[in-house]
């Protein structure tokens, strides 16, 4: 516990963005207080050199029982597919990311690609789309490159700098070589290449060799949705550890920040509810940084009474197209790092995609990164088979797991002002605050891109020898609620709700992630993203956090 004092900065959220900011600011000599609403299962706060051993290879604990939080009963969210659907159509989980020390970095399987140079200038390169506010980012790839390189070193990313022909330029190699390819990916990459695609080892935040004092990944298979039991994953443990070890950083788990305090255009601190339910305040003398993610950050701003009309708008989640095939051979998708290979071909326009866009009445369309993957969890698998005499035979034959392989395309999602986060008018969380309400419906572009690229992915699976292929999407616009596939997007890549820009009338944040009208209040998560791109957001969250926190520290 740091002696009673004012902190230079308060950071709300301990995920990849908040942890990175804490490392940068403490390195610059600032004192930092981090609030985290979830529990701590990551790091011994009394002795930050020690990492905890709470994570385990347990499908029930992590998938069925919300070990990483949030518990959807304590923190319900609500959802509706449009403002014409009444106050809400669903209460419970909606796109939940972990609520725990380390945030979304703990559960991710750590695919950490950089964006393409073109991702930062979509408006200039591709042009506007009706119904969406497609804009250029206020930063370009050339400026981001050194921060991407630092982010890869901080997190620890394994990859092959020469393997992806579409990748943007890089100043150096990845910190580590790629890890072992999964068997399914060995087969699917061979077929994909035969069909003219360009698969490559996905840049992965899991150690392929010992790195930064943590061991190499041993391929245990419990990766996506799990905390790493041996801390081989690039979760925010490294930046948090370094911040805490400066002696200038305090982390308070199980505290919920309910209000950002602003006086005369300056953020002065926060009001929060401690673990005993008592409301308290803390003061920050220099800056407040919000890093609760693209759902919780706009929720906090709305709870605090911020009035910019764009707060919460332009919510984006990747449109997932899942194309799976049943193979004659065993794919053992439970061995390895959940996803070891990807391809980016469907982010690159060609004559066929332009024709498909024109046929759908769109100026252009774009898919996303394609993860080569298979389902590895037997409890989830067992629920897909009928009960009764054939059940155990099906589990032995395992068409839906051990003979399955396929693709998830994380399709670019357009920034529609009507897709948004606001406060539910009646549903409350356990502390009595209004729940987040998500209003979301896919744009025609996402649906057209999904329809256009799914047959290519199915053809790869057929070349692999699939006896049957199937296509599913998330969300399923106008589908029923209650199941895994519903109108609620499953993608955990949630971005864009407090967007950056140069013009205060069309953006909430300035090009440095700070509020146009409150310059010492910064956002360091994916809320500031201007477009969703077709890539996982985490590395760009970290790179932007480094860039913007360094600028903050020297301001």
């Amino acid at each position: 516990m740091i002696a009673d004092q004012d902190f230079d900065a308060i950071v709300v959220g301990s995920g990849p963005g908040g942890s990175t900011v804490a490392e940068v600011l403490t390195a610059a000599g600032w004192s930092v207080l981090i609030f985290e609403k979830g529990r701590n299962h990551l790091i011994d706060l009394a002795d930050p050199t020690r990492l905890l051993t709470d994570y385990s290879n347990d499908e029930l604990k992590f998938i069925s029982r919300h070990f990483l939080g949030p518990d959807p009963w304590l923190e319900p969210r609500t959802f509706r597919a449009g403002e014409d659907r009444g106050d809400r159509e669903h209460i419970g989980e909606a796109n939940n990311l972990p609520s725990t020390v380390g945030g979304g970095g703990v559960h991710a399987d750590g695919k950490l690609p950089r964006f393409l140079a073109a991702d930062f200038r979509m408006r200039s390169d591709l042009g506007p789309v009706d119904g969406a506010a497609v804009e250029d980012w206020p930063v370009d790839y050339d400026e981001m490159e050194p921060f991407y390189a630092d982010a890869e070193r901080i997190v620890g990313v394994a990859g092959d700098a020469d393997a992806n022909p579409f990748a943007a330029w890089r100043s150096g190699p990845y910190p580590m070589p790629p890890g072992a390819p999964m068997y399914g990916a060995v087969r699917s990459t061979a077929s994909a290449e035969k069909l003219g695609l360009h698969p490559y080892p996905g840049p992965t935040g899991a150690n392929s060799v010992p790195y930064d004092g943590r061991p190499a990944c041993n391929n245990c298979g419990f990766c996506a949705y799990y905390g790493c039991p041996i801390h081989a994953k690039g979760d925010p443990v490294a930046p948090l550890q370094r911040a805490l070890l400066t002696g200038r950083c305090e982390l308070r788990p199980e505290t919920f920040v309910s209000r950002v305090l602003v006086t005369n255009g300056r953020a002065t601190g926060v009001e929060y509810v401690d673990r005993d339910g008592v409301t308290r305040t803390e003061t920050a003398t220099r800056a407040v940084v919000l890093a609760g993610g693209a759902v919780e950050t706009p929720r906090l701003l709305l709870l605090s009474g911020f009035e910019h009309p764009l707060i919460g708008r332009h919510l984006m989640c990747h449109f997932q197209t899942m194309v799976m095939g049943i193979m004659l051979f065993r794919t053992h998708p439970h061995r390895g790092r959940a996803v070891t290979h990807m391809h980016d071909d469907h982010l690159i326009g060609d004559d066929a995609s332009r024709a498909a866009a024109a046929a759908a009445g769109l100026p252009w369309l774009r898919g996303g990164m394609v993860e080569h993957c298979g389902p590895g969890a037997p409890v989830m698998e067992s629920r897909t088979y009928p009960w009764g005499r054939r059940h155990k035979e099906m589990m032995r034959e395992s068409p839906m797991r051990d003979h399955m392989w396929g693709f998830t395309m994380q399709g670019e999602d357009l920034p529609q002002p009507t897709n948004r986060i606001d406060l539910d008018p009646t549903v409350r969380d356990i502390r009595g605050f209004p729940a987040m309400r998500m209003t979301y419906r896919s744009h025609a572009m996402e649906l057209a891109a999904s329809r256009h690229y799914a047959p290519t992915l199915a053809a790869v699976l057929e070349d692999m020898g699939a006896t049957q292929t199937m296509v599913a999407t998330s969300p399923v616009p106008d589908g029923p609620y209650g199941g895994y596939l519903s109108p609620i997007p499953n993608s955990k890549h949630v971005v864009g709700t407090v967007r950056m820009g140069t013009d205060p009338s069309t953006s909430v944040l300035d090009p440095w992630g700070r509020f146009h009208d409150v310059p010492n209040l910064m956002v360091a998560d994916s809320s500031g993203f201007v477009t969703s791109t077709g890539y996982g957001p985490t590395l760009t969250i970290v790179a932007l956090a480094i860039r913007n926190a360094r600028a903050l520290a020297s301001s």
């Binding site: 529990r39 709470d54 385990s56 290879n57 347990d58 499908e59 029930l60 604990k61 069925s64 029982r65 070990f67 518990d71 009963w73 304590l74 319900p76 209460i91 890890g179 072992a180 390819p181 999964m182 068997y183 060995v186 990944c217 041993n218 391929n219 245990c220 298979g221 419990f222 039991p229 041996i230 199980e254 673990r275 051979f329 065993r330 053992h332 439970h334 061995r335 390895g336 037997p378 409890v379 698998e381 067992s382 629920r383 009960w387 009764g388 005499r389 059940h391 155990k392 035979e393 589990m395 032995r396 395992s398 797991r401 051990d402 549903v427 409350r428 969380d429 356990i430």
Partner: protein, 177 residues
């Protein structure tokens, strides 16, 4: 002694689980103690710490719960029971009550009637069938720390190695057929 069910209820739950996941030439739900998994879940708060989150998938040590975690899990298991702190957004019928009612509706003779009659009774209440099916799958193929998957028979049947820490898999096991 079961942690939650009466001996008669327990016998019905055993028969239900065996109907959902029957033994063939490999062990079934009864062999895997799937009913014990469900009983442990419903009786989780008769243990200290409550049996909600196992520290390790194959050992009987459990994480302590915070007061908020306990509130959520007690509400889920016991129901809101008219207590204001459990009725945040309305009343909840807990799993204990759903099992008590569901098992009663299946009849004390459930284990003695023939297969077709068992199926007919199970299908008469879709919501309860979905709940017990989910729990039966968890008890059969989940980590043994929670009382089911005894002898790892669920994993053995499905060719799943389960938790392989600290050994993990070699690169050859990952990349080869």
């Amino acid at each position: 002694m079961p942690a939650f069910f009466t001996p008669d209820e327990y016998a019905v739950v055993v028969a239900v689980c065996e109907r959902l996941i029957p033994a063939d030439d490999q062990p079934g739900a009864t062999d895997a103690a799937v009913a014990d998994y469900i009983d442990t879940l419903l009786g989780a708060f008769s243990f200290d710490p409550p049996r909600i989150w196992a520290v390790h998938p194959r050992r009987s040590e459990f994480h302590p719960l915070t007061p908020l975690d306990e509130l959520a899990w007690r509400t889920r298991i016991e129901g809101s029971l008219g207590r204001p702190e459990r009725e945040l957004n309305g009343p909840t019928v807990g799993w204990q009550q759903r099992y008590r009612d569901g098992v009663a509706a299946l009849g004390a003779d459930f284990g003695r009637v023939d297969e077709d009659e068992q199926k007919r009774r199970l299908r008469a209440d879709r919501d309860f069938l979905m709940l017990v099916h989910q729990h039966a799958c968890e008890g059969m193929y989940g980590a043994p720390a929670y009382g089911g998957n005894r002898g790892l028979v669920g994993w053995a049947n499905s060719g799943f190695e389960g938790d392989v820490q600290p050994r993990g898999y070699t690169d050859a096991e990952v990349s080869g057929p």
